[in-house]
Symmetry: C2
Subunit: 305 residues, 2 copies
């Protein structure tokens, strides 16, 4: 099952050169999930061939402009392009007021419904659940209410081994039980162990998105052992004081988060506009956590083992 | 005196490929005036080297998203980049509410003041006046309240001919009167005609920006004889009915506006996303008004005679 993330924006606060404000799109089993939506996200989607019509769920971490100012343009384009199917929007409650006031004055009535799920900043909550995944909000510690998002694939059924089922004449009505791991007892009393007739499914994968936060161990337990950890790293560690006063993380600290939470891999993002190139940020995180990459525009990271 | 316009966005409603929503920057005597501010305007400014710090006046025609959704990001970047000098914002009154609600929830207090001048849609008004120009709002006819903007250079003083002033020993205290066109009478009674001592200034130039409107003669008188007319041309004329039902103009009609108002030159813009290339729009307008160009991203048009 596909599980990959494409970066649409990597910049903090102000855009710079070819770096846009935060946005990413997750593709999980060919369903697209948009995470944050900074200004220019819809243009980035056009640029990288991401179809807005395939997005049914949008997650907004907080209400600093670099994380949501592209949303109204995207919602409007979905409307103008004939969308009628519902859109789920996971975000701090005031976002509804911000959207409504703008729709009101543009005299726009969207042709599709938005289902709002309001995030709360002080408690991890399951906010979404479908056949593929469960999504939890991650309480982060930023200047304003802010949550990250943890995407966990569900445990999948065991896979039937068609040739073995034929060989042992297993009736079709046992297949569902076999997928769940039950053994098969034939009419003659022979017991076939489940492992003989099925193979193990892929391990469920997980992705944690930690957008804007001061270094804080409060969310470490929740994100422990993820396959891929995206963590903001706004500054180099020589600007630790500035990072702390603005409730941001340094690249060194992001490496420490990955190390302490036993992440399999780390993505750095949300870079300050002061860094024209990003190698120093990458190198600094790697001193602590070697398997680190830069979440830069247009790159797709496949979550594997 | 410099008088030129650079196009930052040419698209209507939804962005497409390399076409961004409406925005333009006027450079008049090295002062920059931003007109409309669609999503991604600040990124376009970075791309084309337009410094936000040089902009003190922003004009927003109306509150459809493709004309203002880039504004909050730009205001925010100005704040983060240390701006303290006031910004004048000419726009429909509800824009203040839209800005204020977003600043409230991001807990941002801008470090510079915004002076709002609210436009009214039903009457042409002088809304700005400085040493170089006068700006009038142009009542347009769109689905929601919408004004265009007419920028007129002020008539300048006549230019002193230094060699003639020396030749005829004209005392310095007469210079101000000479610049206004007054003749000089010497102590011996000799009258020197003003034209002998001064030369004519450049003719004042004018630029009309007609953003979103149905074809309507109601504003023709106000914009007559401009040096450069920017007019929306969302559709080809084979979509006239659609243009009328959405309160837009066709390329053919834009040509007719330029012809009937005696514009010196016409710029077409605000192109529907359905047109992958723009030649047909240009050709259609030229059948009526030959001196027409496409207002596409990155192009600068110098307003000359």
């Amino acid at each position: 099952m596909k599980f990959e993330v494409t970066i649409l924006g990597s910049s903090s606060a102000t855009p710079i050169f070819n770096r846009n404000p935060s946005s990413q799109v997750l593709n999980i089993n060919e369903r697209l999930y948009l995470i944050d939506c900074g200004e220019g996200t819809q243009q980035q989607m056009l640029h990288f061939g991401v179809k807005a019509s395939r997005i049914d769920n949008i997650f907004i971490s907080h209400l600093h402009g670099d994380h949501y100012l592209g949303l109204l343009g995207l919602l409007s384009s979905m409307h103008l392009n004939g969308r009628t199917k519902p859109l789920n929007l996971f975000a701090p409650a005031p976002l509804k007021e911000i959207i409504d006031v703008q729709l009101k004055y543009s005299e726009t009535v969207l042709q599709y419904p938005i289902n709002y799920v309001f995030t709360v900043p002080d408690k991890a909550n399951v906010i979404f659940d479908n056949q593929d995944i469960v999504v939890e909000s991650i309480p982060l510690d930023h200047r304003i209410d802010c949550t990250g998002f943890l995407f966990r694939q569900k445990k999948r059924n065991r896979k039937l081994l068609k040739d073995k089922l034929e060989e042992f004449n297993v009736p079709i009505e046992y297949y569902t039980a076999l997928k769940k791991g039950v053994d098969y007892t034939a009419p003659d009393g022979t017991v076939y162990k489940n492992e003989t007739l099925t193979s193990a499914p892929e391990e469920p994968k997980s992705y944690a998105y930690c957008s804007d936060t001061i270094y804080s161990e409060s969310y470490f337990k929740q994100i422990s052992n993820v396959d891929l950890l995206y963590h903001e790293s706004t500054f180099l560690n020589d600007m630790l004081e500035r990072a702390q006063s603005t409730y941001h993380t340094t690249a060194l600290q992001a490496g420490q988060v990955a190390l302490k939470t036993n992440a399999k891999k780390l993505l750095l993002g949300h870079f300050s506009a002061r860094y024209k190139t990003l190698n120093e940020l990458l190198d600094e995180a790697k001193t602590v956590f070697p398997d680190t990459e830069l979440a830069v525009e247009g790159k797709t990271f496949v979550i594997e083992y």
